[in-house]
Symmetry: C2
Subunit: 557 residues, 2 copies
């Protein structure tokens, strides 16, 4: 059983992961030199891989970026699970790749010499290369060229026929001497190449070598913490009213200069996601050192390529889209979590606070979707200080992806006193304590924290002692010991959670894991949103200080 | 504010919705005749629409299916939000469409005569047609041919320049008389065409006309209920041990003959999803009456096209993939819910019960994902009787999509007594009552119901009165009145939920909506799965009768 091990990239998006490998290689070669970074990226793609939409996104990115060291061998056997490819597709794949600027080659996929010829030509070509390898599934077997070839090599007679077709006379697990000798030579060649590479790496200055090893180990630099602290100090001095997406841009402006391994981008929403900071340059065939990528309208391809970049190593990608388009990136976001890849997803416009674009663009269930996914850190900061803290948390992850949920709309500053400590790192903390007897605990995240603060003022004015807990991350809070969780959420007071999303995921904190802890209420969404200015939407859906006070009062009865 | 209204198909998957329109039109024309079904499907697609991966899936489906009445006008303005298209793509779109069997045309998108010429040629062509319309965004404005053209027509001077460029002299909301006359003529032409069509429809036999109107109203036929009841009666006679995906095939074999509007399919997993029944035929250019579609490895395209088919009307599509690949179909599944479109998603292999294919293919968070989505019915039946009931529920929906979660592995029959009532319709019901004092309530869905039954036997053997509640649908249970919910889940006894997925979504039923109802425990998953035979996985992850008994005992302390 492979429990706990890192599984390989899933079928169907490997070609997009590979685009990330090839981009990382181009970028790092430009930055570090060919002495220490110099390789091809190889893909074996099936007919199904080329039918999934993400393949087009990958092909488009690679074609535009002229990733000449990306080599796709298409296993052109013309068969899918249901039968012939022609049951569902008549695409001329060579013409399709060529249309996006690829160089296209052909070979007999069962003839090593012909494969070698095609690969040699492909390596010499200036663009990304696709080699159409004509193959026969289950060659030599009765199931040859049929869908049964996928898994039917269990019949002994047929198995022997297949072996005969390949000219293979050995028994199971028997490796002929000449092949063993050949593979050992391959191993020695690899070991020698690695030793030569290590010698070249050792030839770098000590500082450069240490930096190379740091970025490949995905270690955050020592300067990250001081950069974050400086932002936090300035924030409590200024108390700016700003959207958390803008706060994020401020934090990134401080972080990117001290973390040269960051690689930024957006799926065609650069001005909205606020992921671009000064002097990053634009990654392109003309500027391989560029650290900002225009991914195009391709959320899935972007996310899958970022997975590939992290798997390659040496870069720390983050990139943005609207949070509702988690849906488009979702297949790759799940794989970030499953593979333990610390990609950072910058998801702005994270609620009905998006306003006029309406329900297609307003996330409602997407916080719940990411929270339901194992090994995924969902971070929803409330103001500039929390945004800085959440970026520090995300950039310090080595095996967990992060989803930064950021507002479109301006928010008040809620953290007004500087702390060197990263308060968000425990997932939840007391932002404002009750005055008098603690009767209510309001728990909120992100843009709803200011609503909680205003509701607390109203409740306190009526003599109801009210604590406000800011909870930027449920996952981090869940990871604290029981004593800390009990300290933040003691039994007894009524609990009200406020979040402009669905309730799913909140009951654990409202009701307690074993139940019977508290009476509770939830102020949030139970339907899709609507199109209107955001202030009106919050009012229509009752996500207001008044709505929160009413919910608390009802729960107290 | 547009709250409650049906929003239009979202940007970026409209081309795939349109493929569904065109398929429905071809299919219905073949079945009903051109007298009552005869139209083109028109798409205006932007550069961004053609960058999203789903566009390739749509192009592939339309090319293979030779949807000659599908007309795509590509608004080729070369601009996206971030800037020029060339920032992120160099694809030759005409070559790309041609590679998938489309007929390709060009025109000046600002010249009505040239557009008309291209459309006339496109209509005469034998394949689906793409017309590349060269356009200039914000023509005549200072922002012309720049990304600012997306939303910058607010400057009065510039606005006037744009109007001058179009030769438009009228004021705001002023319609010149000649244009008004022309549009009124268009309206009259449309009204006349509709009247002629209505006359042709009236010319059908009364029975045929009623049937046409029934399927376009998405009314289930009277025979559905009797077909379902017959399956249920036979099931309690046979008590078959079978996977719910196989049970689903049995139900569909009874349903499809009495519902000629069903249109089945699979994303290249026909033999695994069990969606194909006898005599459906295969939809293809050679057989437009065919009711089974090989969608290829294209979950998003399939789901979006099904949305289009329902929006078109006259067909009731259902189609399958593995439940983990909800991720790929997710952008369209959200739109089914948002648009109120009753597509049925047949999601088989719905847990770690999938076994050897491992965690990439094992859903863990996907029940939670669909349950988090407003207006989505998640149905997870436990045996053949519940499968029949859930199909009846799904096929009776008019404005809500359904997700049928079905097992790969064989399951015992848990419903042993026939009831004419659809017990699943209330979402949850008492499957086995406690003997003696009721101390424990076990709540389970789908494949875990048999674990609950075995755990109950063990608990009862120790003298602990235990009720088993089968909960095939949380959404339907939530829609019942408080009295019914209280009857099924009374306060007091310890509650244990058993489901081979994440806990998120369960607390509401375990702890009660206002909290303090019950002590509770959950037996399920908190990590991704692993690769092994399914019996071993259930044991490793503790989802067993023994694990359930232990959880109940611990919660009772």
């Amino acid at each position: 059983m492979s429990r706990g091990s890192r599984p390989p990239p899933a079928p169907w998006q490997g070609i997009a992961n590979a685009v990330g490998f090839a981009m990382a290689e181009e970028h790092l070669r430009a930055r570090w030199g060919a002495k220490v970074q110099d390789h091809y990226t190889w893909v074996i793609a099936g007919d199904g891989c080329l039918m999934e939409g993400v393949s087009q996104e990958a092909i488009g990115i690679a074609g535009k970026q002229r990733l000449s060291r990306l080599m796709v061998l298409w296993d052109n056997n013309g068969i899918t699970i249901d039968g012939k490819v022609s049951l569902s597709d008549v695409t001329d794949q060579k013409a399709r790749f060529a249309a996006s600027g690829w160089d296209v080659f052909e070979c007999d996929g069962h003839d090593p010499a012909d494969i070698d010829r095609a690969i040699t030509a492909a390596k010499a070509s200036p663009g990304p290369a696709m080699i159409a390898c004509k193959t026969h599934i289950a060659i030599g077997h009765a199931a040859q060229d049929t869908s049964k070839g996928h898994g039917a090599l269990t019949d002994k007679v047929q198995l022997q026929a297949a072996k005969d077709a390949y000219g293979w006379s050995g028994g199971p697990f028997e490796v002929p001497a000449d092949i063993k000798t050949w593979w050992e030579a391959v191993g020695k060649r690899g070991a020698a190449a690695h030793a030569e590479w290590q010698a070249r790496l050792n030839g770098l200055s000590a500082a450069k070598k240490a930096e190379f090893e740091r970025v490949f180990a995905a270690e955050a630099p020592a300067q990250l913490n001081s950069a974050i602290r400086a932002v936090k100090k300035q924030a409590v001095a200024d108390l700016p009213k700003l959207a958390t997406r803008s706060a994020s841009e401020k934090v990134l402006a401080a972080v990117n200069p001290v973390m040269p391994e960051t690689f930024a981008g957006s799926a065609d929403l650069t001005g909205s996601n606020n992921t671009k900071t000064a002097n990053l340059g634009t990654f392109s065939p003309e500027d391989r050192k560029g650290r900002y990528m225009h991914w195009g309208i391709r959320e899935h391809g972007m996310a899958a390529a970022m997975n590939g970049m992290v798997l390659h190593g040496g870069v720390r990608p983050y990139s943005g889209t609207f949070m509702a388009f988690t849906d488009y990136a979702r297949p790759a976001m799940r794989l970030s979590a499953l593979m333990g890849v610390p990609v950072i997803y910058v998801m702005t416009h994270d609620s009905i606070g998006l306003g006029e674009d309406g329900p297609t663009h307003q996330p409602v269930e997407h916080l719940a979707i990411s929270r339901a996914t194992p090994n995924t850190l969902v971070l929803r900061p409330a103001d500039l200080v929390e945004v800085a803290e959440c970026w520090e948390i995300a950039l310090s992850q080595k095996t967990t992806p992060s989803v930064m949920a950021l507002s479109r709309q301006n928010l008040i500053a809620v953290r007004k006193v500087h702390s060197n400590q990263n308060l968000s790192a425990k997932g939840a903390y007391v932002l404002a304590e009750a005055t008098g007897k603690r009767q209510v605990i309001l728990i909120a995240t992100g843009s709803e924290v200011e609503i909680a603060i205003k509701a607390r003022e109203a409740l306190q004015a009526e003599g109801i002692g009210t604590r406000v807990v800011s909870m930027p991350s449920m996952e981090l809070f869940a990871a604290q010991d029981a004593a800390y969780r009990r300290k933040i959420l003691p039994s007894g007071p009524v609990r009200v959670a406020i979040e402009a999303g669905v309730r799913q995921g909140w009951d654990r904190w409202l009701l307690g894991e074993r139940g019977r802890e508290a009476k509770a209420a939830f102020v949030g969404m139970s339907t899709f949103g609507a199109s209107a200015p955001y202030e009106r939407l919050y009012k229509e859906f009752g996500i207001t200080p008044e709505g929160t006070v009413a919910a608390a009062a009802k729960a107290m009865v």
